[in-house]
């Protein structure tokens, strides 16, 4: 049994979740608390990866960071680096796809925080950052954590966008979902079944945990 795809999937999903968590909490707070011209359109745009086909995400990343793009050309020229066909590409793809799940949960969690508690903290001479870290975040935390676990489960399951960006290179970029696809295509049904069982078991565990945190709110 080759454990590489499982280990890579866990690594990719973990890093993607960290990226999605940072961006999702920041954006979630902005969308819950600030209204500015175009904010609802921007929020909808951030939610797009939830409804768009993964192929669109993959194509967008290829266009934005591929070798023919300004960014891709610059990275290649100056750092001899390319995100295409590297597992970093799978991290970026998974993070984009997982972002809406953190964002939505975080924004709902922030909206549910009692503003009078924050106001009370402010009157006790707490700085805005201190209010956020010591009042807002602890109150919103269960919701954010639940969304983060959902994001991790989604990142584990990412296939389409990652395949387009990172390719399916055995021992380099082949994640669990790609290994399943290969096994099915090649008719290795036993291998496919084993990998499907592993990924299902993992995802169920994560989803059960996520539900616990959602009900904590």
């Amino acid at each position: 049994m080759d454990w590489f795809p499982l280990v890579l999937s866990l690594k990719v999903a973990a890093l993607a979740t960290v990226l999605a968590l940072i961006a999702g909490v920041a954006l979630g707070w902005i969308f819950a608390r600030k209204r500015f011209p175009g904010s609802s359109v921007l929020e909808a745009a951030c939610m797009l990866p939830l409804v768009l086909p993964p192929t669109v995400i993959g194509y967008a990343i290829l266009v934005a960071a591929g070798r023919r793009s300004p960014l891709g050309a610059w990275l290649r020229e100056h750092l001899d680096y390319t995100i295409i066909f590297s597992w970093h590409g799978a991290v970026v793809a998974s993070a984009v796809v997982a972002l809406p799940l953190v964002l939505k949960s975080a924004s709902a969690a922030f909206a549910n925080v009692d503003r009078s508690l924050e106001a009370a903290a402010s009157t006790l001479r707490q700085s805005p950052l201190s209010v956020f870290l010591r009042v807002t975040l602890p109150l919103a935390w269960p919701g954010i954590l639940a969304g983060t676990l959902l994001a991790f489960a989604r990142a584990m399951g990412e296939f389409g966008a990652s395949l387009m960006v990172a390719g399916s290179i055995p021992k380099q970029t082949q994640t669990l979902s790609m290994a399943i696809y290969d096994a099915v295509q090649a008719g290795h049904d036993d291998m496919a079944l084993l990998l499907v069982s592993i990924t299902s078991l993992l995802s169920i565990t994560v989803l059960v945990l996520s539900n616990r945190f959602f009900s904590l709110r």
Partner: protein, 249 residues
């Protein structure tokens, strides 16, 4: 009441799809995509009432679908090996099997910003970071590639550079986008990409690329399937195929 009205509307809309009479489903190798699409109206014109439906993918993936009971009438593979496997698994009618075109393997690189590959040996150079090849398990062009590189004792040294593609068209896409510095495709695919890719060389040392076609054993449209196979070997169809660069069987 409302939901039922909506449901009956949906069913009414779906009915015409269900009763479409003489539909032939052809599972064909990805390299045949453009030529077959052009052939479809010609075949349909010669058989009033018949419609062709195509399913293009790597031959190995198509075989796998058929073995799992996909409703396919005709199977066209890009190599004899995949068709032989179909014969072993009793998935096709052996009597109907015909070779209808040939093709050749070429090494390509991006037309712009390529690494300047001239020989197979150049692939080992540092300028070539990624080489796109078909997955050997399911993609015929990948197996032809392996034969060539095995013969040149280059398969193992080059393996860390391989990006494995799901079909020959994905290899073509990787190279024409410039994401891979080199790739192995058929001459007909390189022609489709036009000025995006450049043919470096036509390697030898692989079994001849010859495409077999046959009717599927479980097909319910065998007569029409046979007609399509006969049509592929007709002068009219061969002319179109030749224009895409396919050789005579």
């Amino acid at each position: 009441m409302r939901p039922f009205r909506l449901l009956s509307l949906v069913i009414a809309l779906a009915l015409p799809l269900a009763v479409s009479a003489q539909q032939v489903t052809v599972s064909a190798a990805a390299s045949l995509t453009d030529a077959f699409k052009e052939l479809a109206p010609k075949f349909e014109a010669s058989k009033p009432g018949a419609t062709l439906r195509f399913n293009f993918a790597a031959s190995g993936a198509l075989l796998q679908q058929i073995s799992q009971g996909a409703p396919v009438d005709v199977f066209a593979s890009a190599d004899q090996e995949t068709m032989d496997r179909a014969v072993q698994q009793k998935l096709i009618d052996t009597d109907s099997r015909r070779n209808f075109v040939t093709n050749s393997l070429v090494l390509i690189e991006p037309a712009q910003g390529g690494a300047g590959v001239k020989t197979l040996q150049d692939l080992t150079g540092t300028a070539v970071k990624r080489i796109a090849v078909g997955k050997t398990a399911t993609v015929p062009v990948g197996r032809y590639t392996k034969q060539v590189l095995d013969g040149a004792r280059l398969w193992e040294p080059l393996e860390p550079k391989f990006v494995q593609a799901d079909s020959v068209r994905q290899v073509l896409d990787y190279v024409s986008r410039g994401e891979a510095e080199a790739g192995f495709v058929y001459r007909t695919d390189a022609a489709i990409a036009g000025d995006k890719v450049r043919i470096v060389l036509t390697p030898s040392g692989h079994t001849p690329v010859s495409y077999p076609v046959a009717t599927v054993a479980d097909s319910k449209q065998k007569a029409l399937g046979q007609d399509f196979i006969a049509f592929l070997n007709s002068d009219a169809a061969q002319q179109v195929l030749a224009r895409y660069g396919f050789g005579k069987p």
